[in-house]
Subunit: 333 residues, 2 copies
Amino acid sequence: MLDERKAAILRAVVEEYIDTAQPVGSAHVVRSSAVQVSSATVRNDMATLEQEGFLRQPHTSAGRIPTEKGYRFFVDNLGPPASLRRTDAVQVRTFFEHAHGELEQMLQDTSRLLGDLTTYAGVVVGPGPTEATVRSVQVVGITATAALVVVVLSNGAVEKHTLELADPLGEERIGAATAHLAAHLTGSPRSALAALPANGDAATDALCTQAVASLRDQGGDAPDQVFVGGTSQVARAFDAIETVREVLGVLEQQYVVVTLLRDVIDRGLQVAIGTETGMAPLAECALIVAPYQVEGELAGTIGVLGPSRMDYSQAMAAVAVVSHRLSKSLTEG
Amino acid sequence: MLDERKAAILRAVVEEYIDTAQPVGSAHVVRSSAVQVSSATVRNDMATLEQEGFLRQPHTSAGRIPTEKGYRFFVDNLGPPASLRRTDAVQVRTFFEHAHGELEQMLQDTSRLLGDLTTYAGVVVGPGPTEATVRSVQVVGITATAALVVVVLSNGAVEKHTLELADPLGEERIGAATAHLAAHLTGSPRSALAALPANGDAATDALCTQAVASLRDQGGDAPDQVFVGGTSQVARAFDAIETVREVLGVLEQQYVVVTLLRDVIDRGLQVAIGTETGMAPLAECALIVAPYQVEGELAGTIGVLGPSRMDYSQAMAAVAVVSHRLSKSLTEG
DNA sequence: GTTGGCACTCGGTAGCATCGAGTGCCAGGA
DNA sequence: TCCTGGCACTCGATGCTACCGAGTGCCAAC
């Protein structure tokens, strides 16, 4: 669709613009790329590229800037995936070597790692409420009128919910409730949670009903957890403060972030540029995403949000490596 | 230390500057405040206030802006604490009425609430690893070689830690470990965790040792949880993008935020202005903090970070109300 | 199809005059 | 002694003009 030379020119413009954030003129292209023609020829080609929507001029008599379509072509023709810089590879390795237990902490730290590696904002969406089955249930009294249901699911997730007790319950009844719940819930998926058969004791039954209800609710309501690392990078990436505001505003809304990443993944994309993200405030951004797995099951998504003039190959390399190592780390426990 | 009129003038300058972000001239003070003297008199007083360090001029022949000392005086002489705007009070009430179970979620949401109320960044530091005693311990097998220890503490906190098993252990051994741990740990504070007496079975003992070790480590390492809400407000509060970067950079570092709030509280302050925060990047910021309690015990801290030209009375009212309601909500469960 | 040449555009910068908000100071009055 | 009106002065902000130069489009020649 684009002859070899035009593609090379486009590539040169994109690369230079990513580097300098300045409109690129024909002379620069001749100087910086392997294109061995005169600037006049480049000018002609650039005019064509503009007509076809790959480039645009901020104003007459300025250099060219890539359009969304231009970035898209660039990304689609990047060639073989780059590998991480040496120092970054080391950073990733040591990060995962020292990674330990707590899932949330780990995801939080991963989002930061992504931020550090790319100098853009790193995003990690945690495993959603999955169809995991209940592995263990326990009710623990905290105060006279408050108890905690703690549920461990088969995927290792731990959920807890506070219950307010209408009447103080003794140890025995709490114990009875735990036993009753354990007997009936263990092994069933969350969606199959139904009312429990009565146990005979009214107070115990009430507690059980409350516990089951809270579990069901939590599954329904609980948004996927979102971790964002490197928000200050956003302020570094744009110099229009208005843009910074808008982008930060988006990153603050957990729900929006989850849908954003999910949509992009669902559309089979690895990179979403500008309006491809489907969010107006991200018009000047690009988003790189990758899923990660736990035990071979698709678990969540990681991503990097930066300006559309981002260093795509480095960022893509970082996201790929991190998603891979994260999957491995979460699977091996 | 400052006669009545000078104090009134200072107050007027601070208020006007908070409102407009423009240097305030003597004419404005005469117009906007209750001071019934000529602008020349105000000028003389302002010159004195400058000499005494309450005001400064960005450049000769411009109006005055408050110094840190000026803000400090202003805050120390605010008079009776303001109450929240009607709509804000409603927002706080409905927020806490709908607040539910999950502690982390609640703290996260609270940080956002603070952000919303004040249009600055809201910060919440979760209850630290306290000297709570162990209420319940349970080991749950997840995969053949991974298990989870779940511990409920007397304050309602739930901790979990993944254990990697050297050898696959059967249900019975995991059950035995749970029983063994429960028997020996229940009721003891975390700091008293010591090696358990042997149980006879080597594999079970190994598992128990691992569990105890991970609990001890987590208590030591685990930083207090920090939740920041309304980061995009930071971009709204300053127009120098460099400042935005620096402030966001600070807010990203959980450890720094924890120490920051703790230091301020420890010094018995409610408001820290500029260098009083002890952090160079926050030179143009002010921080309002308040502790919150759970069951009457000091649990954590909430705060608001904004520009030093912030609406102190509203922000202080918001922080006070939220810390109060949060304490109540967490205590009543 | 490519190239050197050329006229043209237009944003950015520097220089300069002007404006006005604000100051400091002083002499006169309560 | 303190307050006030008056006045000269300062200096950032604003607007204007001229100019520079990077960059373009087009054309005639190769």
